[in-house]
Amino acid sequence: MGIKLKNLYDEVGREKGPVGRMQLAMLTKITSFEALDCEDSPQNLKVVEDAIAQLRRQP
């Protein structure tokens, strides 16, 4: 189960709102709702964390 992944999406949602969640979904190709069904694998976590880092770099 992708608890950690879901938490990352929630964190972005708190920071940047629904638009941020949508942008994260666009970058990772995984929605916040699908994150729960994904494995918290190091690979998946890295993809999401990289995408969040990219979002945070955006103005």
Partner: protein
Amino acid sequence: MNISTKLVGLSLGTVVVVGGLAATLVGELKSLSASYNDLLQGPVREAEAARVTQVDFKKQVQEWKDILLRGQNPDDLVKYAKQFHEQEAKVKAEAQTLAGTVRDPAAKQSLNDFLTADDTLSKKYQIAYDVYVTEKFDFKAADRIVRGQDRAPTDLFDKVVAQLNGRVAAQAAAQQAEAIRQRNTALIVSGALLVLISVVGFIVVRGVLTRLGRLRAVSDRLAKADVQGLSIDISGNDEIGEFGESLKSVAAAIRELLGAASH
């Protein structure tokens, strides 16, 4: 590989193939032209020279007859004897030159046989001439000495002309056959390359069009926000693959928006 790279590669490949083919054809044409030039400079020229000598030999015989017919008149005797000897020297010179240059061994042998026969004939003409003058222009006595004696050299030279003409005909036929062979080779190679280019072009274009069709189908569903069960299976390291990745992002965004709206 990018589509643009594929298309540029296909275009360059076509240019290289067509250019190479054109260069090869020009080379073949030059070779054929050189071959025809050799034919004109060699056997054709030899055959032409032989025909000239053949006519000159007949003129020489005619000059001898003029001596016998009109030699009773001293002025005519001097005139026709001079013309006869000039013609005789001309024939010998021409035949010797031809024997030195002609490349066909059989024709060369026939020419040498002719020169030997012509020497014999010249000696007989000289004896006949002396008889003609000393016997007070008795043309019958003179004619008896040389009657029919010009037949052998005439036949020999006719043989030379026939041999050289045969060589010209054989070489011309060989060159014509070579030209036909080269034309057929060019047609086969051109056809094969055309088919190859067409097949490669067809495969490239069909691949692009098929993937564009799948992109269009995905795009149509995204336009209606119909992302339920939507699978975007468009990959590849080209422009269409990149576009497919963009559509995956758009699909994810729509799913996220629809998910948020439903919660």
